[in-house]
């Protein structure tokens, strides 16, 4: 078909408009232009630092088991937040105890995060999800540093281990990371999932009934007396000793923690999870977390949730901590991937299938 010359400019105009629209879309989507860090990019670098992809497993905190119980609120938290969780009452909880790292069959005897993912079911379909660690601080303060640290930790193909020549410079130029590593080296590691504290680490904003907003961190303080793991013999412990201990302990009776809300003092940083809030703080005991059941992931109902720390009820919102949105985006990316790969039996279930007993 011959195209009359006089309509060519108009066709060109149409093509230019469509191209402009496509370019805007590509720019908004981050496919062209300045380097943005996407949740998928964080999942990518975690996979690289893990050395391989473990299909169906979380890209971090891959090894875990399921817990459940309830939260008994005493009503005291309501002075800080109108969240339903702080109204006097009892609320069902499911959760996942995990160790840090991306290898789902790793041994428990490593100086890593002991962690809990929690999902509090509130009235009217509301939920509060948390992912909390046994340390009060985090290793980096922002997603760019998180990616850089993971990048520096990618195992050297020759040795299969991270290259000290890469980690060294990162730590040297990040005193907060050095401080965290020193903390991990010196601070005692709880001997059980049940007798250690768990910290929100990140600050959040609590809104009370009058609409006043305050920055708050919280921690779960164990009722069970703290005992320490001997770090010198850590790597000689049985592979699943932490998880086995939790499975056995819950059979003896419920495990409890007090939920302590810590209100920021003027001047406390809310945007930097590597900095502790030191000195006296207003603290409120909001109630008791009671976990009275534990099962393997395959048998329980906790694995297939995303413990996204920004799934929050009314009365609680994100602070200006840049780690929070990064966690939300990265957890979603990890969740998308493991969902499509399909869940796989966890290490502890496999051990039991091979005849191990408690």
């Amino acid at each position: 078909m011959a195209v009359p010359i006089r309509i060519l400019p108009r066709l060109a105009l149409i093509a230019a408009l469509l191209a402009a629209l496509a370019l805007i879309f590509a720019w908004v989507g981050g496919w062209i232009g300045r380097g943005r860090i996407s949740g998928a990019a964080v999942a990518d670098v975690l996979q690289a630092a893990n050395g391989k992809v473990y299909p169906g497993f979380r890209r971090a905190h891959a090894k875990g088991l399921c817990v459940s119980g309830h939260f008994d609120a005493n009503g005291a938290g309501a002075v800080l937040s109108r969240a339903a969780l702080f109204q006097r009452g009892s609320y069902p909880v499911i959760g996942r105890a995990s160790t840090g790292g991306g290898d789902p069959i790793s041994a428990d005897g490593r100086p890593v995060f002991h962690a809990l993912g929690l999902r509090f079911a509130l009235p009217q379909g509301e939920e509060w999800r948390m992912a909390i660690d046994h340390t009060p601080i985090f290793v980096v303060s922002n997603p760019a540093d998180f990616v850089a640290l993971q990048q520096a930790s990618i195992p050297d193909p020759k040795t299969g281990k991270p290259d000290p020549a890469k980690i060294g410079p990162f730590v040297a130029s990040h005193p907060e990371t050095a401080a965290f590593l020193a903390y991990m080296k010196t601070a005692p590691l709880p001997s059980s999932f049940a007798n250690g504290p768990y910290y929100s680490i990140n600050a959040f904003r609590f809104l009370d009934a009058a609409g006043t907003s305050r920055a708050v961190r919280w921690q779960f303080e164990p009722e069970a007396p703290f005992t320490e793991l001997d770090k010198a013999t850590l790597d000689k412990r049985p592979k699943d000793f932490l998880f086995d201990e939790l499975l056995a302990r819950v059979k003896q009776g419920p495990i409890r923690w007090r939920m302590i809300l810590v209100v920021a003092n003027p001047g406390d940083r809310t945007d930097n999870a590597t900095i502790r809030w030191t000195g006296p703080h207003r603290q409120i005991d909001a109630g008791t977390l009671v976990l009275d059941a534990a099962t393997t992931e395959a048998a329980g109902n906790c694995r297939d949730y995303n413990y996204d720390p920004l799934i929050l009820p009314k009365g609680v919102a994100a602070s200006d901590d840049p780690l929070l949105p990064a966690r939300s985006a990265a957890y979603a990316a990890s969740f998308r991937r493991r969902a499509l790969e399909g869940p796989k039996p966890d290490a502890i279930t496999l051990d039991y299938q091979q005849g191990k007993t408690l």
Binding site: L13, I24, F25, I37, K314
Partner: protein, 173 residues
């Protein structure tokens, strides 16, 4: 005067055109970042998506109640088929996209929060494998939707600037 779409159809068309383009940009934009834009855009994404679903159902009813104006008699049959077929697809996508979004969040075990304190009921049971498939479909169909809209806009402008046959005015006028 050229025959035009009924006024409600025209209002819905332009309102929804803006909302759908915004949704595609919000969706693509939020996935590109780990800054606070991610949760902020996601918090807009769900209520606008639900709004599009409601508007699309109203629009479907309007479309069934009012006959659209006829296409120009001299339009080649292939273009007529392309016009009709693409309109069916556009309707299918503006209803399917929000339904898939809602269904995948249900299957993923997420609370389908429209705004803080207002959570929609789930429309599928919790099943992470179903979530994985629906989430992939939501992404792929979103980009197919965008391409289809590009073609649709190109065709509309072709009618307006090249054929000058009144089709553009039937919606724009």
């Amino acid at each position: 005067m050229t025959p035009r779409f009924a006024l409600p159809a025209r209002i819905l068309h332009w309102l929804m055109a803006a909302l759908i383009l915004a949704m595609l940009l919000i969706g693509a934009g939020m996935l590109s970042t780990t800054t606070a834009r991610y949760p902020e855009l996601l918090a807009w994404h769900r209520p606008i998506g639900l709004g599009i679903l409601i508007l699309a159902l109203i629009r479907l009813a309007v479309r069934l109640m009012h006959r659209p104006p006829p296409l120009p008699a001299d339009l080649p049959p292939l273009q007529v088929a392309a016009a009709k077929g693409s309109h069916y697809l556009l309707y299918a996508l503006m209803i399917a996209m929000p339904l898939i979004g809602w269904a995948m969040q249900s299957a993923g075990g997420y609370p389908v929060t429209i705004w803080k304190g207002f959570v929609l009921f789930p429309i599928l049971p919790h099943d992470i494998v179903v979530y994985g498939l629906l989430r992939a479909a939501h992404g792929l169909l979103a980009y197919a939707f965008f391409l289809l809209i590009l073609g649709h806009i190109g065709a509309a402008l072709f009618h307006a600037l090249v054929r000058r046959d009144g089709v553009f005015e039937s919606m724009a006028g």
